[in-house]
């Protein structure tokens, strides 16, 4: 292991490491800690310029209750879920199929189709912006959740295919060959042999895509406007103009908006990291 395990070093270094660790963490998360403290402060603290002091009273419940009752936040949150969940299902389904096709079969166009997906996944959003917005307008889907979901599914299929194809490549190919010798139909091989083995990849991709889509801001402002269809990332900016300079509410709102992917991350941590770091090890 590198660096040298702490148990094998001197006592002084061991103790200083143990104290350094929490200090470094606090420093690293300082901006977030500040927002968390802001969100439980009363309004009067900001009027009295008590920004960084201890909250003069604990107003956490009032502030968060106001976010949920006095603003459009619940609607934005609901929209975010309505956008994120269908996208995850759609993109994962499509990429299970494309990943299977590109991972199992050998044919001439294979690598080029694969590269098309990979390259498309890397393009700057702006080159797609005007045509995709126009397309969505023409289909009558501008400012609808469906319009946003359809685009997200299509775009995420690029990354998901890269992921799934590499995952399937690493599976033992003998299983598939054995099934073929038995005369099992190809679609049955997909359904009964490969798909069960893909469960960890499906879990990893699902959490990743959930986070990506939840945090999307660009497409939200390009393809939607207004409370009825915008997700929470776009909503937070109009929330902020509604509560301009009400830092305690803005902080509470930001924390609410950030919470679902954070919860997802902590619940599915192992899968999340496995997904992000696929390919970081040979």
């Amino acid at each position: 292991m590198f660096p040298t395990p702490i148990e094998r070093t001197s006592r002084t270094w061991r103790i200083s490491y143990q104290t350094l660790l929490p200090l470094a963490l606090i420093l690293w998360l300082l901006p977030l800690i500040a927002v968390a403290i802001f969100s439980v402060k009363p309004d009067s603290d900001f009027a009295n310029a008590n920004y960084w002091g201890w909250p003069s009273s604990f107003e956490g419940f009032t502030n968060y209750a106001l976010v949920f009752t006095g603003s459009d936040m619940p609607q934005y949150l609901l929209n975010s879920f309505k956008i994120t969940i269908p996208t995850v299902i759609g993109a994962v389904t499509l990429s299970c199929m494309t990943g299977f096709a590109l991972g199992v079969y050998k044919f001439k166009a294979n690598i080029w189709i694969f590269f098309m997906f990979v390259a498309g996944n890397f393009v700057p959003f702006q080159i797609l912006m005007v045509p995709v917005r126009d397309l969505t307008l023409q289909m009558g889907l501008y400012n609808t959740i469906t319009g946003l979901v359809l685009f997200h599914i299509a775009f995420q299929t690029g990354f998901c295919t890269l992921f799934m194809r590499n995952f399937i490549r690493a599976l033992p190919f003998e299983l598939i060959e054995a099934a073929r010798v038995e005369g099992v139909a190809e679609w049955r091989i997909f359904w009964y042999v490969v798909l069960p083995l893909m469960k960890p990849a499906i879990a990893a991709l699902s959490v990743l895509i959930f986070t990506f889509i939840w945090n999307d801001y660009f497409w939200a402002i390009v393809l939607t406007q207004g409370v009825e269809s915008q997700p929470v990332t776009a909503g937070i900016t109009s929330f902020n103009s509604q509560y301009r300079a009400a830092y305690h509410l803005m902080s509470a709102g930001s924390i609410v908006a950030a919470l679902p992917p954070v919860a997802m991350f902590f619940l599915m941590q192992r899968h999340f990291i496995a997904g992000l770091t696929l390919g970081a090890v040979k």
């Binding site: 300082l30 802001f38 890397f122 702006q126 005007v130 045509p131 939840w214 801001y217 954070v262 990291i273």
Partner: protein, 305 residues
């Protein structure tokens, strides 16, 4: 009856013979169609559109390379381009910073798992929220930055209001989640480092920086490659932070190409779709150089297998 079953078996055998050739295409069809429709065709449409003047509603007017000529004389375009280069260069700091934190956390003391996930935290949060948090951090009236500067005897500064500092200020905000990302890549990479090579290195008297540079870093190559890919793409995609923190200001000093394009095509400054598309094409060409390199590396690897 007998005829029908013969026909069925013949059909069956045709399918049977061609099954392996056709199945991949059937599985690929929905994904490819979706992707062509929403990603690949729009790229070409944007190229085409960059030769037109179009307000998004009326008739598009063909203007040839006029949009590109206008770009050539556009001061704001050069500011954006310059900022893109600054982003690319400074954003790469996330890679060594991530490695450093990963080395710091690669221990087995109690609670280290929780520490690792808390260090990773910033990456999970939306860039919009990161932007807000850092805007307050820099705020000239109450921002904690000026409190810290005052503590060491430096004069206060208004980072986001200063043309010379604003881009750096936004990049620092972007480095926060990006460093977390690189850290997690390296933590995974460090897990897979061959312990025997480390022991062999120790026996040969290598330690500290020399050990890191000659034995550890070469083994982290796959992690470094991915860290480069995601950091470069992230730098060129920077949009959310700029939009939330400064909206391109002050006086357009923090624009990058992706933001300037959006501003030209969709904001209150006018609906110049063709001009926006021309900017997007330039950004795309820059990105294409990197994409080509990434694909080339992947291709070599595929061949080696």
């Amino acid at each position: 009856m007998a005829q029908a079953s013969v026909a069925a078996s013949r059909q069956n055998s045709w399918w049977h013979r061609n099954q392996q050739r056709l199945t991949p295409w059937l599985f690929l069809a929905p994904g490819i169609l979706f992707f062509l429709f929403y990603v690949i065709f729009p790229i070409f449409q944007s190229f085409n559109l960059s030769l037109y003047e179009w307000d998004g509603l009326g008739q598009a007017e063909f203007v040839g390379t006029y949009n590109y000529e206008e770009l050539y004389w556009d001061e704001a375009f050069y500011t954006s381009l310059k900022n893109n280069v600054i982003w690319l260069v400074l954003y790469l700091a996330a890679i060594p910073a991530g490695l450093f934190i990963a080395l710091f956390l690669n221990q087995t003391v109690t609670g280290i798992r929780l520490y690792k996930s808390l260090f990773f935290f910033p990456f999970v949060i939306s860039q919009v929220v990161v932007g807000l948090v850092f805007t307050w951090f820099y705020d000239p009236t109450f921002g904690i930055l000026n409190v810290l500067l005052g503590a060491v005897g430096l004069p206060p500064m208004n980072v986001l209001g200063d043309e010379n500092w604003v881009t750096v200020g936004i990049i620092v905000a972007g480095l926060w989640p990006q460093t977390a990302y690189c850290m997690i890549l390296y933590l995974t990479g460090l897990n897979a480092v061959d312990p025997e090579q480390i022991e062999a290195g120790r026996l040969d008297g290598a330690k500290g920086w020399r050990m890191l540079w000659y034995i550890i870093v070469p083994q982290l190559r796959p992690a470094t490659f991915i860290a480069f890919v995601v950091t470069i793409i992230g730098a060129l995609r920077s949009f959310d932070l700029i939009s939330v923190m400064t909206n391109g200001g002050p006086f357009g000093a923090s624009r990058v190409l992706s933001f300037y394009m959006f501003e030209v095509a969709l904001s209150e400054y006018g609906f110049r779709m063709g001009y926006g598309a021309a900017i997007a094409v330039v950004l795309f060409m820059i990105m294409l150089a990197f994409i080509a390199y990434f694909l080339w590396s992947m291709y070599k690897e595929e061949r080696a297998r």
